[in-house]
């Protein structure tokens, strides 16, 4: 449930245009021009304060949700409802979804809220706009599941799906309430789910369970089809999980390496910091194509760009090893290319003397790997490398010696020396 607020904030920052003055080449500024440029979007009309109020209100709600201030969020929500009466029809039509997401989140966490309040709210929201009906029903069912009300959820969901299907004029299936058989039950659910998954949206838990079920019953092709559709259909919103599910499935199926690489490539573009990236790197390394090798290096650097992975010893081990391999393979240009954009900030990000001391204290093995990388990229004069090489440790003495040797041999700063 908490994914929603993050999703919303992401979308908000995408839409948020920085209010900057319009600059001309001579350094003059025209603040009055900015105002007019802003009206191009609205077709020449100045934004009304009503719109300002609603967008400011939305900002406050999101802030309150992030800080878990449910009371405040509810307070602002109270004022936000007026967007349903906005004279701007675009905003009015987009409103119910936003309100549902925010409202449901507040009601989920607010101490004073109860299942009844949630139910009332869900029912009210469902009646605004038909498109929302099904989405809200599903999420409502999830909420009930969360609260351990399995039967309610199932009943709820079946009822709504049936209502929706009747409205949508689907006569692919008939719903038989009499059947209690486990197989029947799951089959019906699956058929319902299948219809559901055709509609664009984010259905992660449903997809997962549906695919599990299909695999259980041996329908590999069906599962593959569902997952491929879920990941690649353009109508669906971009969802990294879709690719992860597809990848895991293909792995289980022992699909060819090429296929796995192509799936992970997309994941790399969406979430370069994902832990699967290390697996991706391994696949690329083992491949025979040269561009895959180059990409492998890119991927590793990419992973270590992110603060969450700075202490990942596997990543550093791989990078250390791979740098050596790359340099021995006479691909200095690749390393230089990757290093070009990073040399300004990686040293203080990863290799400062603070990190040297802290890493050595925490995990000596990690420090050694990092030292090797630092030595290669920054030369043996860099702080990190010097600090580590001065350390005297019984266990790692040999390793440190090896590192010194490698750096001497491979350092980018003094190549070939």
């Amino acid at each position: 449930m908490s994914d929603f607020s993050e999703e919303l904030i992401r979308s908000k920052t995408e839409d948020d245009k920085e209010e900057s003055c319009v600059f001309s080449g001579t350094g003059m500024s025209f603040p009055w021009l900015q105002k007019h440029i802003g009206t191009v979007e609205t077709g020449g009309k100045k934004e009304k304060d009503f719109a300002q109020t609603t967008s400011a209100c939305l900002g406050f709600i999101q802030e309150a949700l992030l800080k878990h201030q449910w009371q405040q969020a509810a307070d602002y929500m109270h004022s936000y409802f007026q967007i349903l009466e906005d004279s701007d029809s675009h905003k009015r039509q987009a409103a119910p979804e936003i309100i549902w997401k925010l409202g449901s989140e507040i009601l989920f966490y607010h101490p004073k809220s109860s299942v009844e309040t949630f139910n009332t709210f869900a029912d009210r929201m469902k009646n605004i706009g038909v498109m929302n009906y099904l989405k809200i029903s599903l999420q409502h069912a999830l909420y009930l599941l969360h609260h351990g009300m399995l039967e309610d959820a199932n009943r709820n969901l079946s009822f709504h799906l049936r209502t929706f299907s009747l409205w949508a004029d689907e006569d692919d299936y008939a719903y038989n309430t009499a059947s209690q058989n486990m197989f029947d039950h799951s089959w019906k659910t699956s058929v319902n789910l299948r219809a559901l998954i055709q509609t664009p949206g984010v259905w992660d838990p449903f997809v997962k369970s549906y695919v599990e079920m299909l695999e259980f019953y041996g329908d590999q092709d069906g599962a593959r089809e569902v997952l491929t559709n879920y990941a690649y259909d353009e109508k669906f919103p971009s969802n990294p999980n879709a690719h992860i599910y597809l990848y895991n499935f293909l792995k289980r199926e022992k699909a060819p390496r090429e296929k796995l690489i192509s799936v992970l490539k997309i994941l790399y573009q969406i979430v370069p910091s994902h832990k699967l990236m290390l697996e991706f790197h391994r696949l690329l390394r083992k491949s025979e194509k040269e561009d895959h090798h180059k990409l492998g290096l890119e991927v590793l650097f990419g992973v270590l760009d992110f603060a969450g992975c700075t202490k990942n010893i596997t990543a550093w081990k791989y990078l250390a090893k791979y740098l050596r391999q790359t340099l021995m393979g006479n691909h200095l240009a690749w390393v230089q290319e990757e290093w070009k954009t990073r040399k300004n900030w990686w040293p203080s990000f990863h290799f400062s003397s603070f990190w040297a001391k802290s890493d050595w204290k925490e995990d000596k093995a990690l420090a050694c790997e990092k030292a090797l990388v630092a030595g290669i990229l920054l030369g043996k004069g860099c702080r990190y490398f010097r600090f580590i090489s001065k350390q005297d440790d019984q266990v790692l003495r040999k390793k440190i010696k090896q590192i010194k040797k490698s750096v001497k041999k491979h350092s980018v700063v003094n190549p070939g020396l």
């Binding site: 003059m28 500024s29 603040p31 009371q71 602002y76 004022s79 309040t117």
Partner: protein
Amino acid sequence: MDLEEAKEFRERCTQCAAVSWGLTDEGKYYCTSCHNVTERSKEVINTGAIPNTKIQAINRGLKRKRKLEKGWDWYVCEGFQQILYQQAEALKTLGVGPELKNEVLHNFWKRYLQKSKQAYCKNPIYTSGRKATVLEDNPSHSDWDSEPDLLSDFSCPSFVESGTDSQPDGHTPKPFPISKVSQSETASICSGSLDGVEYSLRKEKEIVKMTMPRTLAFCYLSLLWQRETITLSDLLRFVEEGHIPYINAFQHFPEEMKLYGRDKGIFAIESWPTYEDIYKKVIEIAKFLDLPRFPDITEDSYLHPNILCMKYLMEVNLPDEMNDLTCQVVKMTGIGEVDFLTFDPIAKMAKTVKYDVQAVAVIVVVLKLLFLLDDNLEWTLSNIAEKYNEKNKEDKPWFDFRKWYQVMKKSIDEKKQKWEEARAKYLWKSEKPLYHSSIDRAVVYKRREMVVSLQKQFSALVDSAPTVEKKSPSSFQFNWTEGDSARTCFHGHGLQGILKKKGQSLTTKNSLYWLSTQKFCRSYCKHVTTYEESNFSLSYQFIINLFSFLLRIKTSSLHEEVSLIEKILFKRKYGKTKKKSRSRKGRKY
């Protein structure tokens, strides 16, 4: 209706089980024995030959549907009159004298109606060429209920001695009693008022059309005429705080004045009034009404810069001693002269002084004179003051800019935060929803119902925490008291630390100055200068932001006003083109 028409309907009546139906005027079936009306309406099957009587009957039904809601007939200008009345009442509650409502504003409004040819003249314009002879017949008495007078009464422009006797208050205003006149209306474009549609389409060059923001312009003109102690920024702030009706003022119309359709665009405003906009409208209306020179603003008027400066100095917690300096600047620049300050719309370059902005700009200039505000000197001077204050705890403390900055920054940030929160939570829509036409009426009502029920649900979740009581209106946004240890009051602090003796008089220790604008724009654009924040010191930015928030104006407006004052003060420097951005000047007094 005839039984024959309802022959095809064969069901049994739910109440009396008879099968004997008739058609009501609205075309619904009703049981002739028990008069139970159903919801089933008769469907017209063949549109071919319909007998004459039937057409007449149908016509009757349609005609009744013409007016969506029954009520009085009223014109748009009456609506505005209502609103002005409400606003005048509110001003009275704020302490303004009753003459404003009964005489000044009333006369201005009558003059407007006369000038825009809507009333008080021989041939007022009305929709569909109908004559408003009805209006001219009525007797005259000067009151808000009054019927308009003939042209002759208003030929003399002198408003000062208003010969009109003030009538007792307490009349609930009614619109002009006009008999119902039939109009042709298309169902899609309609309005509650009689001329709403026509009004919104009217586009005459010479006539100033009345709008919601212009009501505030009228209020301000009246306040200015009476030289009341409410500045334009005060007025707009009162509107923002809800003490003067503006947003949704139409909700207080009498029950019988129905508002819908095009009226919505005229009366339901969804933006706050801005200072710059209302100011322009004030001048525009004064010119349109051909008003004479306003009563003089002399040294003892509230609006005189000496007094306003004192007020703002107090409000921003600056020492009283600075008032001497502000008076000096006022004197030197000549902006305290009666002729400069008094508003004269007929003058060639009609302008009215932005009294509040100008006073604040003077204060900014004084701060620049004392502290230079170059992100350096002010802090150095603060260090000196701090040292002195520590050593001499018994004496009158020297004014410490840094301490003042800390106190003010905290206070203003808090205020700004609260203001932003209040703006984000503001509920714009009226309780009774406004709809455009019969088509969307049901939808609009349903939406309102939905919103209200959702709001109710969520307000139950919000703690019954102390709701911010509606503040009682005050001219001051900040109050500082001596002896409050939490919030230092700087009123009594001394300026000795920043002034030094020079012969018989004192001068500022700082002998430098920088101009806010080096060159003024002489071309066609409306602005003489722009304000690009990054070009200025942080202290200056802070000061400008502080005062512009106080007055709720744009920072560029205040910056412009500061530049204009400097222009007058340093006239010589602007005479020649100077490349240097600093000019040396020692100020004496």
